[in-house]
C-alpha cells in the first residue's frame, strides 16, 4: 500500500560536503499503515537509471540522526513514523547530473504478524535540481 508515495518529488539532490559532491539524496516514506522501529526495516534498494546502488552506499536519516542499513537493523530506539519523510543518502563520488533520472526504490520490512516479508517497490523519473 502507499506504493506510489514511497518516493517524494522534493529532496532529490546532490550531496555536497566541503565543496565535494559525495553523492546524492532523495526523500522516501515507509509504505505501511503505521510506523516501524528501525530494526524492522531490512533493506532499502535504490536503482538510478537502471544502475543498482550498493547496499553499503545507502544511509537513512531522520530528524538529525543517521544510520547505514546494517546499523539501522540494530537500532531499537528509533522509529520511522507513519508518513514521515526520511532522507536517503547514497554515497557516489560526483553525484548525479542535473536533470531527469529514473529512480526505483524497493523497501523490505519485517512485520511480526505477516507470514511473509514484504518488499514494496515503486519507480518514476525525478528531476535533480541543478
Amino acid at each position: 500500500m502507499m506504493d506510489q508515495h514511497m518516493l517524494c518529488d522534493d529532496g532529490f539532490e546532490n550531496v555536497v560536503r566541503n565543496g565535494q559532491t559525495t553523492g546524492f539524496a532523495l526523500q522516501a516514506r515507509l509504505p505501511y499503515y503505521r510506523g516501524l522501529g528501525l530494526s524492522m526495516v531490512e533493506d532499502i534498494a535504490i536503482t538510478v537509471d537502471g544502475q543498482a546502488v550498493a547496499r553499503e552506499a545507502v544511509r537513512l536519516s531522520l530528524r538529525g540522526r543517521s544510520w547505514s542499513l546494517d546499523e539501522m537493523e540494530r537500532c531499537f530506539d528509533e522509529k520511522w513514523n507513519f508518513g514521515e519523510k526520511a532522507r536517503v543518502e547514497v554515497a557516489q563520488p560526483g553525484g548525479l547530473t542535473a536533470g531527469d533520472h529514473h529512480v526505483d526504490i524497493a523497501i523490505r520490512y519485517r512485520v511480526s504478524y505477516l507470514p511473509f516479508v514484504p518488499t514494496t517497490r515503486t519507480g518514476r523519473p525525478l528531476t535533480l535540481a541543478a
Binding site: 499503515y33 510506523g35 512485520v111 511480526s112
Partner: protein, 336 residues
Amino acid sequence: MGHQIKRGVSLYSFQNDTFLRKMSLEDCIRTCAEIGATGIEVVGEQSFTGWPEVGMPMAEIAHWHALMEKYGTHPVCHDFMLDYKRVKGQMMSFADQVASVKRDIDFGAALGMPCIRALVSISPEVLVACASYAEDKGIKILIEIHAPLHFDHPWIVRHAEAYEKSGSKALGYLPDMGMFLHRFPRVWKQRFIRNGVPQHIADHIEKAYEDRVLSEYVLLDVREMGGTGPSLAMAETLRHNAAFEPKRMLEFMHRIHNIHGKFYEMTEDDVEYSIPYDEIVAVLKQGGYRGHICSEYEGNRWVEDAEEVQSVEQVKRQHRMLCRLLDETMPAALKA
C-alpha cells in the same frame, strides 16, 4: 427493537489522508464528531509518533484529550501491535512479550481507552499473563478475530479456552466484520484485473467465491485455464475464504466489547458491496451487544493505484447505512 449499539470510527480509515498530511488528527476527529460517530479508535503507531520505540509522546497525548473535550468524542480502543520479531531472526521471549503488552496497556490507559486491540497472532498465554494488570488499569484486552481466522478456528478455540479458564473479564474479542465477506469485493476484482488477470479468469474466481468453493479447487481451475502470477494471487485470496456466519458471534457475545466495521466499498446507495451489514446488525441486536461499531475502511489499498482515495466520503456512506440499521436520526452532516 431497542439496542445500545454505538457508532465509532477507527482513524485507520483515513490513513491515506493522514499519511500525506492532508488531514490532521484534529481533522479526523472533527469529521467523526460531525457525523455523530463519537467513539474514536486509533492504531497507536499510526496516530502517535515514536510509540513504543521512543516512548510515550506526552504532548500528543495531551492534545488527544483536548480534542476529545473540544469535539465531544470519547476514546474507544487503541490497536496495538506487539512486534515480537523486533530482532531479526529471533522471537521475543515470553517475558518480554508480556512486558511489551503491559506497556501498551499503559499507553491505552494514558489515552483513556476502555479497550486495547491485540492482533490475532499473539498467543493466549501472553494475554492471560497480562489480564490482572489490565484489570487494575480498567482496560480490556480484545483479540481481533480476523479472516482467515474465525470463531471456530482451532487457534481461536484455544484463545477462548484460555480466557474462560483464566476467569478474567479483562480478556475478550474484537471481531472484524471482514470475516463475513459474503461476496468477492468488486474493488478487489477490479484491482486484480488491472494487475493483469484476464477477465474470464477473474469472472470464474468471483463466481467460485459466490459458490463457496474450496480454494484448492479454484486454484486447480485457474491453473488449467492457463492462469499465471496475478491470476493465482487472486485465486489464493480464496484460501482465506471468509464467508463465515454472523450468527456465530452469539455464542461469544459476553466477551465481545468492540467491533471493526471493516468495509471495502460503500456504494452510492450506502450499502457495503460484499459484507452483509443488515444481517450483522440484526445478530448484534439479538445478542444484546452494547459496544461500538467502529468504521474500518480498507478499500483504500485496493483503489489507490487508480484513483484518489475517498476516505471521508466512504466513511460517511457507512455511517448513513449504520444510522439506517441502528434506527438513529441522521446528523445534518450525513444528509445528502
